[in-house]
């Protein structure tokens, strides 16, 4: 009887996610334009990926993205959270403000950054140019496009980390903190030897999730640069999307999706282990 309760969830989830995912695995070995009959071509899609310059560029960008998001938001989040621990008044206010960018739609955030900050006619960049500073729209330069997008993404992301780390720090036992204070630990020593070790499980989980999310990143790049200019901000997910819907290479896109999933899966393995370990306790 009770098993029946889980049936609707499973039917929806299996038919929307699991079955199409299995079909993607099959499609990766076919050539298909989405309309005519698919042709089986074995490993040809993967061989083509191996020799595809854009694929390597996209993969490299995903790795750069992962590195950026494993360091900056986590470091800023930890600093902001530890500062919040020091104050009594205004904790809720600061948390709400830091969290606010997180709830605004990506399309909106992207357009604000494009139009009001980076834009050389209407943005802060234009204003700085008038004052004689030589700054350019980072999105239009091949060397900086990826970082321009990353800054906008980072802006909406770090507050989330700060709020999570702050919640974790508040659960650290008062006795531990007090005894460290009595022994004369200063702020930095307190963070280094008490707080950070105490919230290490949360930091570890966030790092694993960061790796997963960094290989899934799509919205910001698709909206702000479409992977351009000249594919310099392309990542695997925008590449797969372009192949499938603009270049009618669904099989090739499926093969790319499998590569993304491989990275995701490795991280997911650690994620599930961390989650289950907590459940067992």
């Amino acid at each position: 009887m009770y098993r029946l309760f889980a049936i609707p969830t499973l039917i929806i989830n299996v038919s929307i996610i699991l079955l199409p995912a299995l079909l993607t695995v099959v499609l990766a070995f076919y050539r298909w334009d989405g309309i005519s009959n698919p042709t089986f071509i074995g490993f040809e899609n993967f061989e083509k990926l191996w020799g595809d310059r854009i694929f390597w560029k996209a993969l490299k960008n995903n790795v750069i993205w992962t590195a950026l998001f494993l360091t900056f938001p986590i470091a800023i989040g930890l600093i902001a959270a530890s500062l919040l621990m020091l104050v009594r008044r205004g904790r809720t206010f600061f948390q709400v403000v830091y969290f606010l960018p997180m709830i605004i739609a990506t399309v909106i955030t992207a357009r604000i950054w494009q139009g009001m900050i980076y834009n050389p006619q209407s943005g802060i960049v234009a204003m700085l140019n008038r004052y004689g500073y030589d700054v350019r729209d980072p999105l239009s330069q091949t060397s900086t496009a990826l970082y321009g997008v990353a800054v906008a993404d980072l802006w909406h992301w770090w507050g989330f980390m700060a709020v999570i780390f702050f919640a974790a720090m508040r659960q650290v036992s008062q006795e531990q903190i007090e005894s460290a204070r009595i022994e004369g630990a200063n702020y930095f020593q307190l963070m280094r030897w008490v707080m950070i070790p105490a919230i290490m499980p949360t930091i570890a989980l966030m790092m694993v999730m960061t790796v997963i999310w960094s290989f899934l990143v799509f919205d910001f790049i698709f909206i702000m640069t479409q992977g351009g200019p000249a594919f310099t901000s392309e990542v695997l997910s925008t590449m797969a999307y372009r192949k499938a819907f603009y270049e009618l290479g669904v099989g090739y896109a499926a093969a790319t999706a499998l590569v993304i999933s491989l990275f995701g899966l490795t991280a997911a393995f650690f994620y599930i282990r961390l989650q289950n370990r907590e459940d067992a306790e």
Binding site: M1, Y2, R3, F5, A6, T9, I12, N13, I16, I17, L18, L19, P20, A21, T24, A80, L83, L86, V87, V96, V97, F99, P101, I103, I104, A105, T106, I108, R111, I112, G115, M116, I117, N119, S122, I124, W155, G159, F160, I164, R181, Y187, L190, A198, I199, P201, A204, I212, F218, F222, S237, A240, Y241, V250, A257, I260, G264, A268, I272, E278
Partner: protein, 277 residues
């Protein structure tokens, strides 16, 4: 207990927290300010105050992105997704929390795994399958896709609320002859409503803001969501940034107002399950 004694430290701390708050608010203030300015005014300086509030921008954006239609679409999609996630998810969360059945471990791991799956892993066959079945531009069909994507974390969140209900209540109801369905609907549901509310808010927020699925499956002018419609409006070559910022205000204001009033639930819902220790 106070972590700091010195007044100077407190002042520096507040100064740093203030700088961080400034960074978080700066682009949002730019959106607000420039939503009331004309294009020449914006070109003059994005930081200047509007000489006169140009409310016309809002009317232009409303018309340009066809918000009468697309806001309605977004709202319908949002409520259908919330209803689907809550009905299917609360049932599953209940049995995962309370019933010891061997295969639950597999179900849990499967659900956790799907939260980490890239959308591209199932997007392409799903799209061509939907196209074959004539489900493109069908808001109802898309709410099932959202339900599949948002269910796993909703279930994990709801499960913690079901776990918090004392077991004795259920046992007493069963002794009195209640059916499993009655136990679920009469005993549990009234007690887990804070969890239901939190999940509704988060699923509503994610559905309203979602881009990738919406832009792929809902392309027709009559079925677009507000976010996709705004995306298309702002992607055109002629860029009147005053209108575009007004449109941005229109799409985000409902969400921001709701967030400020119910921030505790939002934050709890989005960060839920992330704190380990």
């Amino acid at each position: 207990m106070n972590l700091v004694e010195s007044r100077v430290t407190i002042i520096i701390t507040y100064a740093l927290l203030g700088i961080a708050a400034f960074i978080a608010l700066f682009p949002i203030v730019l959106m607000l300010l420039n939503s009331l300015k004309t294009t020449p005014e914006i070109a003059l300086s994005p930081l200047g105050m509007p000489e006169v509030a140009h409310w016309n921008n809002y009317a232009n954006a409303w018309k340009g992105a066809n918000f009468t239609r697309t806001f309605f679409n977004s709202a319908v999609l949002m409520f259908m997704t919330i209803a689907l996630v809550l009905t299917t998810g609360s049932l599953t969360a209940y049995v995962l929390a309370r019933k010891k059945i061997k295969s639950w471990k597999i179900v849990t791991v499967y659900l956790l795994a799907t939260t980490t799956a890239p959308i591209q892993l199932f997007l392409f066959p799903l799209y061509f399958g939907f196209a074959k079945l004539g489900l493109i531009n069908n808001i109802f069909a898309v709410s099932f896709v959202y339900c599949a994507i948002f269910s796993p974390f909703s279930i994990m969140l709801l499960r913690t609320y079901f776990l918090a209900v004392p077991k004795e209540l259920e046992e007493a109801a069963l002794v009195d002859g209640a059916t499993p369905w009655q136990v679920f609907s009469k005993v549990y549901l009234p007690l887990v409503w804070p969890g239901i509310l939190t999940v509704s808010l988060i699923v509503g927020l994610y559905t309203w803001n979602e881009f990738l699925i919406a832009t792929t499956f809902l392309q027709g002018p009559e079925s677009r969501t507000a976010v996709v419609s705004y995306f298309l409006l702002s992607g055109q070559y002629s860029r009147d940034w005053g209108d575009l910022m007004a449109g941005a205000m229109l799409v985000s204001t409902p969400i921001v107002v709701l967030f400020i009033f119910l921030q505790r639930r939002f934050i709890e819902g989005i960060t839920g399950g992330s704190i380990k220790g």
